[in-house]
Amino acid sequence: MKIKSQKDFFSGLMFTVVGAAFGYGATSYNVGTGARMGPGYFPLLLGAILALLGAIILLKSLVVETPDGEPVGAWAWRPLFYIIAGNLLFGILLGGLPSIGFPAMGLIVAIFGTTIVVSMAGDEFKFKETIVLSIILSLMSYAAFIMLLKLQFPVWPSFISG
């Protein structure tokens, strides 16, 4: 059997698997009856519906002809990696990782780290430009979030500010 629409095939697969997983998970809670719905009732119902919808989409992708096969296309690994990595780095630098004893570095260090890593996701990466951008973003964030909105952020590394 040939896949007629790649996009539909994989999205159908995704919906089926996720729906089944939610439905299976729901059975570990008390399902109850209609009149006395337990915490598992609604998720089980929805999980079943989602799995069913996914299966229909999956089936359609094998039957209904499309002009170009609707390919999913190449994955943009580079932006995907750097954007997500930059985001995670922000969390690590801002709050630290107590589980491995990594100290919190505070907002300013986190801004520099994130801006530099995220910038690498683009086609051209100019180090000097990125540093200037980091400085501007640090000043803006400090003014907006710390001074104006008074959000509770650790601003400097914990070993300096104590």
Partner: protein
């Protein structure tokens, strides 16, 4: 008269110096972010939401209304100047607006969009104020079965108007509903799908989903496309004001657009989008005056009508939200989330228990619209400059502000890990061609639907026929069924697909 009394109460609340300032800042920030290419209103509001946390509820809602209008207007600006619709409802504005810009008439196009939107906004606010009270009366007649059926209608309405595959959109809603159930079940206290992670027992934050899926997902998708040289008309925006001839063409178009928008906006579902499409189609069908530019080549009516319809629809789509507590689209879903953060549960009880807030919000919508025109017509030059900021400076800033915003919601790094995960999921959605907006809508409605289903079935002792034996509930479900059938009819189906690929 009640209407006048209510409105004056509202304006009394909204017209304090402080609130006006918040409204102004909201508008400014909303436009500032909304005008950046590739950021739609959902991402804009999600990004700016944390900025309102520290404010008192009324000020926060006023600022949010400002952000909302600012973001929408910013979207039209990018549509006209860069040929990039920032949101689905400005897709039709692009057609004639961009052509006008290419002919050096970006100024009149932007002014037509702004003035048309302002007029439509004023009418929309009046309709909202007039309809809110009677509709709230109706809302008190609603039992859990009616609410459940209404939500079904709302969700179906939202997807039949979405572009792309209907089946996938429905699946996305269900997925959203499921994600909304993560966390502690209010009835039994059981932590569902939380994998023993303490942060997940409070549920997933809607900002986390919105920023991950709409913010990160789209940035990754944007970056994966080769950067084509976008044409931006910076130097050529001279002569801001439309000519007398333009006004003659514009005024009837604005009136028609406003009428269509106000009517369609009340419908549950993406009213604003449908309104813009319908308004453009009607303008296209009316006869051209002698000497008028044909449609598709820069006709000012092609900008004025959909923009007015869009704004009127955006305004009246607050009606189901404020009277019934049901968000009709993804942006309104965000507003619900924002209100709950400020301990306001939108719905009929807001108006009776908290009239200052309710009417203050309505008044602030009008103020938001007025701010927009005061702010934007003189500042158009500045917004255009913003469009020339290269994307390679923009996206690091967006990622950073998303990360800061997510962290500030709970002061918790766990949310940062979660938003990263949703970023990957958002990119996956784009690759698989599924639209994320229905997901967000389902996510907000999930707990509400479960609660109403539970109550309805408890009252009927587990009898599912309660949804069709109660008259009001049955007619709501029938309306949903009719909507689905109409969309699935072969002739309408091909028309619908045609409408979404047009141009």
């Amino acid at each position: 008269m009640d209407l006048i009394n209510n409105l004056s109460l509202g304006f009394g609340v909204a017209f304090t110096f402080q609130n006006l300032i918040y409204g102004f800042i909201g508008c400014l920030l909303g436009t500032l972010i909304g005008v950046l290419p590739g950021i739609g209103p959902v991402a804009t509001i999600a990004m700016l939401l944390p900025a309102t946390y520290a404010l008192p509820p009324i000020a926060a809602l006023i600022m949010l209304a400002g952000i909302y209008y600012g973001a929408q207007y910013g979207g039209s600006t990018t549509a006209i100047l860069v040929n990039l619709p920032g949101e689905s409802s400005s897709v039709v504005t692009v057609i004639d607006g961009y052509q006008m810009a290419r002919k050096g008439r970006a100024g009149p196009a932007l002014a037509a969009a702004g003035l048309g939107s302002f007029f439509a906004g004023c009418v929309g606010t009046l309709i909202l104020a007039a309809f809110a009270a009677p509709l709230t009366e109706v809302a008190f007649k609603f039992g859990p079965a009616e609410y459940f059926s209404l939500m079904i209608l709302g969700l179906i309405g939202a997807v039949v108007l979405a572009s792309g595959s209907l089946l996938k959109a429905v699946a996305m809603i269900v997925l959203g509903l499921l994600l909304g159930l993560v966390g502690t079940d209010v009835n039994s206290g059981v932590a569902r799908f939380s994998f023993d992670i303490p942060e997940l027992t409070d549920g997933i934050g809607f900002i986390t989903i919105a920023m991950g899926v709409f913010g990160y997902g789209e940035i990754i998708a944007n970056l994966s496309q080769p950067e084509d040289k976008r044409e931006v008309f910076t130097g050529k925006v001279t002569g801001l004001f439309p000519t007398q001839e333009d006004f003659k063409n514009m005024i009837p178009a604005v009136l028609r657009g406003t009428a269509i928008g106000s009517m369609l906006g009340i419908l549950p579902g993406g009213g604003a989008l449908l309104a813009a499409f319908a308004a453009y189609t009607i303008e296209k069908k009316t006869k051209l005056r002698p000497g008028e530019v044909p449609f598709g080549q820069g006709n000012i009516r092609g900008v004025a009508a959909p923009e007015s319809a869009n704004n009127a629809g955006a305004q009246t789509s607050f009606i189901p939200l404020l009277t019934l507590g049901i968000p009709p689209n993804a942006v309104m879903a965000l507003m619900v989330g924002a209100m709950t953060i400020h301990n306001i549960q939108p719905g009929p009880q807001v108006m009776t228990s908290n009239p200052e807030l309710f009417w203050g919000l309505i008044a602030s919508m009008w103020i938001g619209n007025a701010m927009l025109i005061i702010l934007n017509l003189p500042l158009i030059g500045m917004w255009i400059k913003l469009l020339t900021v290269p994307y390679r400076w923009l996206f690091p800033a967006i990622v950073l502000f998303c990360a800061i915003g997510v962290y500030s919601t709970n002061n918790n790094t766990f949310d940062i890990w979660l938003v990263g995960a949703f970023g990957v999921i958002g990119y996956l959605f784009i690759k698989l061609g599924v639209e994320p907006a229905p997901l967000l809508l389902g996510f907000i409605l999930g707990p509400m639907m479960e609660e109403n289903l539970r109550r309805a079935l408890l009252l009927s002792r587990g009898d599912w026929t309660v949804f069709v034996t109660r008259g009001l509930s049955a007619s709501l479900l029938a309306a949903a069924a009719v909507l689905l059938i109409v969309v699935l009819l072969p002739s309408v189906k091909s028309k619908r697909e045609e409408a979404f690929v047009e141009e």
